[in-house]
């Protein structure tokens, strides 16, 4: 990232997101070579450009959290493999930015998460993302473990929207 003058850099935002995910600190080593962009599947079909996203982060531009682009990443990890700098973990940065976006209430796109309601329900009630898994569901006591591990996670909020959960509540209420 050597095209900009020194005064353009502002690492406050980077420090903020590195508090949660320490590995993000390594992004400061980015040299802006663009290898991550070439061959990136998301860049082929959208305005997603990881080089620009990193530049925004390094300039403290939090508008990146409102960009729909960050939700286009395929998490294919190609960028991580081709990056010439050791330890820069772009997929993890993207996941972290998405988390921050969620926290700030921007983002997707909660509507998109409706597609995860059924998957979340199945995972929390039978241990698989699909109904009637090939080998049957997990034993009930093991399901409880999965449910407990996921306490306070977004998956629980998504699950709350499911029919099964609603009918269970109705049953308890009656």
């Amino acid at each position: 990232m050597n095209q900009s003058s020194d005064e353009e850099w502002n690492f406050d935002f980077l420090d903020e997101i590195s508090e949660d995910v320490e590995e993000n600190k390594k992004i400061i080593q980015c040299i802006g070579c663009g290898k991550c962009v070439g061959g990136c599947p998301a860049s082929k079909i959208s305005d997603y450009n990881i080089r620009k996203i990193i530049e925004k982060v390094l300039k403290g531009d939090k508008s990146v959290l409102k960009d729909s682009d960050i939700w286009y990443c395929f998490l294919c990890e190609r960028c991580k493999r081709v990056c010439p700098k050791e330890g820069i973990n772009i997929p993890l940065l993207i996941l972290n930015l998405r988390n921050e976006s969620f926290k700030k209430g921007y983002g997707p796109r909660y509507n998109d998460l409706t597609k995860y309601v059924e998957m979340s329900e199945r995972f929390l009630t039978n241990g698989s993302v699909l109904d009637e898994p090939l080998d049957g569901t997990l034993p009930e006591e093991r399901i409880k473990e999965i449910d407990k591990i996921c306490d306070f996670a977004r998956i629980k909020y998504v699950f709350k929207a499911s029919d099964k959960n609603n009918s269970k509540k109705k049953h308890i209420d009656s």
């Binding site: 320490e22 998301a42 079909i45 995860y116 698989s128 006591e141 409880k144 591990i149 977004r154 998956i155």
Partner: protein, 337 residues
């Protein structure tokens, strides 16, 4: 605490057993990781299970294993510590009953290794152990030693089915009844096999990403190159669900590129990629969007092995959804000359 990489060191097996690597697996307990999408493609599980039995290797699945949870992590629905805790729970159960875990899905494989990788970060490791401690308290103690602990230097080792089949390819060849009759075959590896970077500096064996091509040649087929060989299938951590019209551009380009070089079918080592590249509804949508009908057949490596071994078609094919996906491949390989 040392959090070790659980990927099996394949180079070491080759050094120790240069002539017959299958001997390394004799007397070891092998376990098959249950990938959710095997529900749609039961031949993926059947193919490897049947092969292992034919090779007199001990094989099982783990009843208490859950989904790898990669889908939920990738959509920010669970945290890194929760993801790692789910992963440790699975690994603990499997470690309790097996020595080697074979994985048929790139997504699960990546999750299993990534979950361990996260534990190298002290903060994540601490939170993960806290989750497991709460679990222990809630569930009323342990059923076996270390059930709710982060595994330190466990015996279990993880191996992708593709690496396993390639490693013991000579033994596999001896179990085959049919060959590929010179068919032109395109390969698709999938991002989470191609892009794993743990092989970047050390594991030279894993670095070689031509194993499918070599297996095709060994089985009597002709591997064909195509421009989109290393591209994504389009699934892209559910992009095909969230932004289908955009993601299908990737899928379409790949399938079109395979047809352009005259490939008879596409061979791959991952049921998630198989789902994306094969699902009839997706093919219909692609036809509608791009005004181009693509008929190329698709198959998972484990399914192909089952066909080549002479297993019955209904044991290899997609049992739940009527599809001609494998029928053509099955007919062509098994018909008499």
């Amino acid at each position: 605490m040392v959090i070790n990489n659980l990927a099996l060191s394949i180079s070491q097996i080759e050094e120790e057993y240069p002539d017959n690597p299958i001997e390394f697996f004799r007397g070891k307990r092998l376990c098959l990781f249950k990938a959710c999408l095997e529900k749609y493609f039961p031949g993926v599980r059947f193919g490897i299970e049947n092969l292992l039995e034919a090779l007199d290797l001990e094989v099982s699945t783990c009843q208490n294993q859950s989904c790898c949870s990669g889908t939920f992590f990738q959509r920010n629905l669970i945290t890194r510590a929760q993801f790692a805790a789910l992963n440790e729970r699975n690994l603990n159960e499997i470690n309790n009953q097996a020595d080697i875990l074979l994985v048929s899905c790139n997504g699960c494989y990546n999750s299993l290794l990534r979950g361990r990788d996260f534990l190298k970060t002290p903060e994540v490791r601490k939170k993960t152990q806290e989750i497991l401690d709460d679990l222990k308290q809630e569930m009323g103690g342990e059923k076996y030693e270390g059930q709710y602990e982060i595994l330190e230097n466990p015996d279990i080792r993880i191996m992708h089915d593709l690496d396993f089949i390639y490693l013991i390819r000579k033994a596999v060849l001896n179990t085959l009844k049919f060959d590929l009759k010179g068919l032109k075959v395109a390969t698709h590896y999938g991002c989470h096999y191609l892009n794993l970077d743990r092989d970047r500096d050390t594991e030279t064996y894993l670095k070689d990403k031509n194993k499918l091509e070599e297996l095709i040649k060994l089985f009597g087929g002709q591997p064909v190159g195509y421009s989109e060989r290393d591209s994504c299938c389009g699934w892209g951590a559910s992009q095909v669900v969230l932004h289908p019209e955009d993601a299908f551009k990737i899928t379409y380009k790949k399938l079109r590129s395979c047809e352009n070089v005259g490939a008879c079918f596409i061979l791959m080592p991952c049921p998630t990629c198989l789902y994306t590249l094969s699902k009839p509804e997706f093919r219909d949508q692609i036809t509608e969007i791009f005004d181009d009908k693509l008929d190329i057949a698709t198959i998972h490596l484990n399914e192909l092995i089952a066909i080549l071994r002479g297993c019955e078609e209904d044991q290899c094919v997609n049992l739940r959804k009527k599809s001609s996906r494998i029928h053509w491949i099955y007919q062509t390989i098994t018909e008499s000359d």
